[in-house]
Amino acid sequence: MSVSSFMFYFFECTAAISAIALVLIRNVFYGALTLIVCLLAVAGIFVLAFAEFIAVTQILVYAGGILVVIIFGIMLTTKISGKPLAIEHGHVSSGVLIGCSFFVLLSSFISVQLFPPANPSLPAYNDISVIGTGIITDYALPFEVAGILLLIALIGAAVTASHNAKKT
């Protein structure tokens, strides 16, 4: 068993375990941390799938971005009431039901699915430049739209969060 494959399965297990843990954990804060772990593991998997750039983005954006925001959010929403961070679970049976059924469905059909073989030659797009050119050529439009999306989202978030019902 090569190092890479060991790494791969290690990341797989980490991601899987942390995902399941996220389901079980009853503390928002720990939940957030588990998610970080999961996402980092996924980033690792990306690396092993020859997508370093995505992996890096994943780590930066998620670990560095979203998670901070989320934890900030947690603070904000719990500080006010001062309630403990522990939370209950509701609709457990139904949730588990659909979760399991989806997993069973998907995995069972994935297992019988035959995928085309990967071409052995090492992919050419591996270097950043391809992505760079892609972003300004083939993927220019999505990129621009994503920009607008970000803008709108931030403006919207700002308006929503900043607006205080009492004032108006």
Binding site: H91, S94, G95, I98, F102
Partner: protein, 648 residues
């Protein structure tokens, strides 16, 4: 058709006379309806006058047509997809005779009514309907096709309805009128079916068409029997006779005209008219029905207390007589009896009317109250009402069929034809024959019981009344009719019925046995004796009093129908709407919960469809709990369902 006949039939005189005879009654009707209330006295003169003219014309016409080729004329009423519906006139001996009879008696009754109905508030309506009745009766008589007959048949029924219910503020009268019409309607439905059969198989209603058929179960049999239902309704045959006694609620002249002389005889007339249509099989049924009716009527007449009821039942039994003999294949005899019966029975009714009238008058002066029609209150009126008495006796003798009276002759004719019909070998027809004799016996009994009870013996409730003979307007018609009950009217020989009338009706083909005449004469004498001996014995039998409870049966049937009505009404509310309802209770419940709006719109409307709709609605909407995570769950769940379902 000879030349002079043709000339005659085309002569304007003939046509004018005919048209006058037919239309003047209608004219009287229109006059009476259109004339304003304050000139209503006019009608008491106009109607008899018009009727008189029409009678004279009718007499002329009948005289001309008599023993000639039948006069036929026909117009198109409307044409439909190639078929023509015609209305036309067919005048032969039979119809000519009836034409005269009806107009004459109608005139007399009109005349009589001027006295009898004097001072009645609705006199206009009365004379109007008399005129209308006469018109429609004439229609039946002269019509040349069965559809027309049916039309006037119904109209006669209507006018009878109106006349029976003339005093409609009397609930009994209103009820009687209704029952009379409905029972006639039942018969008429049979008639209608007969017409349908006729139409389907011959494509026409003409009376002259459609010869008789040999085989028993042919469409003619069915058709003729259906039409006979109509006859049974009109001329009060078993089991549809019950309306006739009730119909006595109407004014007495009406009873005389409609329910003794003419309308009830229309059935017999029709039977004679379409005799060709009847197969032997149906004839037997007719005969038996007639026999049954005759017996029932006669027996019931024995037990009645009400003068008019007695006469009504006797009418029923006499009609049974006629029908029976038609069934025996001798329509001529039936017509003879019809003819004679019309006179003496009308006379009897008018006489009874005059008794009632004068007693009423007397009652009004001295304010005593008793039922003047109940013979148990009457007696010994011989001295107080001598004229009425004589008239009553004369016509009574005719009814009883005493020798030297018309009744004897016509009865004789009937018995003779029955004898001929029964054949020589022993069979069930003997029963009919014998029962005919029995009926004639009972007839004598009730007739003379009636006379004795009213006019002889000592007075009962009428003792201190100052009774006056009725006015001339009433006496004259009675006199005429009484005269008409003497044998001369039909034949010179008091023991031979084959006079001008019968002879020409049968074109001389008839047999006459002196034996029957003698036997019946003797038979009558015995009956007379028996009547005299038993005159004091009152016959109390509820069975007979109620005419064998046939009426009860009919009423029960009517109740059943009403029940059915209630039932269907329920079905409407409970089931048909209820099928749409899930259930009425659920409806109510939801209604109360969700307030009036839903009560008005959603529940109410298409009542329960909405119950169902709301059911589905509440189901589909039950997912809208407002809990976002459940939304997601349901959605994901449905997606899974979709996947699994479409994969399977």
């Amino acid at each position: 058709m000879t030349l002079e006949e043709i000339q005659l039939y085309q002569s304007s005189l003939f046509t004018t006379c005919l048209s006058l005879a037919l239309t003047l009654p209608l004219g009287s009707f229109l006059l009476c309806t259109l004339i304003s209330e304050k000139y209503s006295w006019v009608v008491t003169f106009s109607s008899p006058l018009l009727l008189l003219i029409s009678t004279l014309c009718a007499g002329l016409v009948s005289y001309w047509v008599w023993n000639h080729e039948p006069f036929v004329i026909s117009y198109t009423w409307f044409t439909l997809s190639g078929y023509t519906f015609t209305f036309g006139i067919l005048l032969n001996n039979l119809s000519a005779l009836m034409l005269m009879l009806v107009t004459l008696i109608s005139f007399l009754v009109n005349f009589y009514s001027t006295g009898y109905m004097a001072g009645d508030p609705a006199i206009k309506r009365y004379f109007a309907m008399l005129g209308f009745f006469t018109f429609s009766m004439l229609g039946i008589i002269v019509a040349d096709n069965l559809l027309m007959v049916f039309v006037f048949w119904e109209l006669v029924g209507f006018s009878s309805y109106a006349l029976i219910g003339h005093w409609n503020e009397k609930p009994a009268a209103a009820g009687a009128a209704k029952r009379a019409f409905i029972i006639n309607r039942i018969g008429d439905c049979g008639f209608l079916i007969g017409l349908m059969i006729l139409w389907t198989s011959t494509g026409s209603f003409a009376i002259t068409d459609a010869g008789p058929s040999a085989e028993i179960f042919s469409w003619q049999t069915v058709a003729s029997l259906c039409i006979f239902c109509g006859v049974a309704g009109k001329s009060a045959q078993f089991p549809l006779f019950t309306w006739l006694p009730d119909a006595m609620e109407g004014p007495t002249p009406v009873s005389a005209l409609i329910h003794a002389a003419t309308m009830v005889a229309a059935g017999v007339f029709l039977l004679a008219r379409i005799h060709f249509l009847f197969t032997p099989y149906s004839l037997d049924i007719v005969a038996v029905t007639g026999c049954l009716t005759a017996l029932i009527g006669a027996l019931a007449a024995l037990a009645q207390y009400d003068i008019k009821k007695i006469l009504a039942y006797s009418t029923i039994s006499q009609l049974g007589f006629m029908v029976m003999v038609v069934g025996a294949g001798a329509p001529a005899a039936a017509i003879l009896h019809l003819f004679t019966h019309a006179f003496f029975k009308a006379c009897l009714f008018l006489a009874a009317g005059s008794v009632i009238h004068s007693l009423h008058q007397a009652q009004h002066q001295s304010h005593t109250e008793f039922d003047v029609q109940d013979i148990r209150n009457l007696g010994g009126l011989r001295k107080k009402l001598p004229f009425t008495f004589t008239v009553f006796v004369l016509s009574g003798c005719a009814l009883a069929g005493l020798p030297f009276f018309t009744g004897f002759l016509s009865k004789d004719a009937i018995l003779t034809s029955l004898m001929a019909w029964k054949g020589d070998t022993w069979n069930w027809r003997y029963l009919v024959f014998v029962s005919a004799f029995i009926v004639s016996f009972i007839t004598v009994l009730y007739t003379f019981r009636l006379i004795w009870n009213i006019f002889t013996g000592e007075e009962k409730s009428t003792r201190q009344l100052h009774v006056l003979e009725s006015p001339f307007a009433m006496r004259a018609p009675m006199a005429v009719l009484a005269m008409a009950s003497v044998w001369i009217l039909v034949s010179w020989n008091p023991f031979d019925f084959s006079g001008w009338l019968f002879g020409s009706l049968t074109q001389g083909k008839y047999l006459h046995s002196a034996g029957i005449s003698i036997v019946s004469a003797v038979w009558v004498i015995i009956a007379l004796v028996a009547a005299y001996l038993t005159r004091r014995i009152p016959i109390q039998s509820r069975l007979l009093l109620n005419g064998f409870y046939v009426d009860k049966v009919l009423r029960m049937a009517e109740m059943q129908l009403r029940q059915a009505g209630e039932f269907t009404a329920n079905a409407d509310k409970k089931w048909i709407d209820g099928l749409l309802h899930i259930s009425a209770y659920l409806q109510l419940m939801i209604a109360h919960i969700t307030g009036w709006f839903d009560r008005a719109i959603v529940d109410g409307v298409v009542d329960g469809a909405s119950g169902f709709v709301r059911g589905v609605g509440s189901f589909t909407r039950s997912f809208q709990s407002g809990k976002i995570q459940l939304y997601i769950f349901w959605t994901a769940f449905t997606v899974i369902i979709f996947i699994i379902w479409t994969l399977l």
